[in-house]
Amino acid sequence: MLDRNGIAKRIAQELQDGWYVNLGIGIPTLIANYIPEGINVEFQSENGILGMGPFPYEGEEDADMINAGKQTITALPGAVIFDSATSFAMIRGQHINLTVLGAMEVAQNGDIANWKIPKKLVKGMGGAMDLVASAENIIVAMMHTNRKGISKILKKCSLPLTGVGCVKKVVTNMAVLDVTENGFKLIERAPGVSVEDIIAATDAELIIEGDVPEMKV
């Protein structure tokens, strides 16, 4: 079973040289710590920066330099700052190569829900709806089940949707799943997790072909 960092590390393997990447709040943010050797990517944050660097050294925080998670950040040489309309022009115009975000639920048709629990939690969609409606390449980073052990990998989302048919891949603490025309295909198992464990923890139907290899993380 992976922890949050493990999930980030596995997704980092998907990065390709020269890509522009938007990382959501939570687990996705951790991906920046695991960029493979020899791969150069630029991170966009939808509040208006491209070329985001590491967190500032203590005492060097600048209230005017934050990411979309409102964390203090730095800018790398070659970075650019822009307004929100330009930022979403990049996103909506499909100039971003990879979007990674968290989710409350993902369904086998690629639907995603991550912004609202009716009558309980309404934080808003932020930039997520623009991101999922536009991106060609969306990976969801999430725990396979909620705290009660209930699957978040579903036949059909029960919560209000963020986007329809958009998710391409899901990386959880238990598995890597591709969203295919016929539903979720199990691609990899987390270390120490069996195919049976995954089936047991999953509400959605899984397509399983031959031996499912263990992730290398």
Binding site: S45, E46, N47, G48, I49, P54, F55, P56, Y57, E58, G59, E60, E61, D62, A63, D64, M65, I66, N67, A68, G69, K70, Q71, T72, I73, A75, I81, F82, D83, S84, A85, S87, F88, I91, R92, D111, K116, K119, V122, K123, G124, M125, G126, G127, A128, M129, D130, A133, S134, P160, L161, T162, G163, V164, G165
Partner: protein, 233 residues
Amino acid sequence: MNKIVANAQEAIKGIQDDMTLMLGGFGLCGIPENAITALVELEVTGLTCISNNAGVDDFGLGLLLKKRQIKKMISSYVGENAEFERQMLSGELEVDLIPQGSLAERCRAGGAGIPAFYTPAGFGTEVAEGKEMRMYNGKPHILEEALTADFAIVKAWKGDRYGNLVYKGTARNFNPMMAMAGKITIAEVEELVEPGELDPNFIHTPGIFVQRIFQGEKYEKRIEQRTVRAKDE
């Protein structure tokens, strides 16, 4: 041309109950702190506020929420604010949640005389309910309308008496589009400079979009998520 007014109180003159305001900022970054304080003092109520976020309980728009001056919020993300959540869930506060990119583009459209445009964001979700849908490039899009406001209030780093503005870092965010979309646009700046000091090639908001400008008395610039690494990392 001289658009300078003495202070925040002067700048917000004319703002009345039940008006629609736009307020720049992302989280607490780049928000018009001084104007918000003046609005609290003015005790106007029934406001509709268009702002990406709703501040926190004791700063930013949270101050107006606490005093129940806001009737309706039009935002994209409203976490981090317990009082907001309480008012919304109890039905005291109307809330219209909009995808962040659509919010930014709708403000720009309002300022640019584009009454409506198609976007893929929100298709198949609650956001699309009641909106026109059309296929473009094989993908469904929904029709979104422009947003404007009686007053737009933005925060910049430097500005001159023509209303030309320059922002610093990610404090830019929604400010430039909202500056375009106000019937009257108020800009508060950290520093007023002489015309010509701002390089004409590098002005973020041309003065034509700004009607009033003042230098804010002080800036707290509160940080929501102070995240740092140790020096020896």
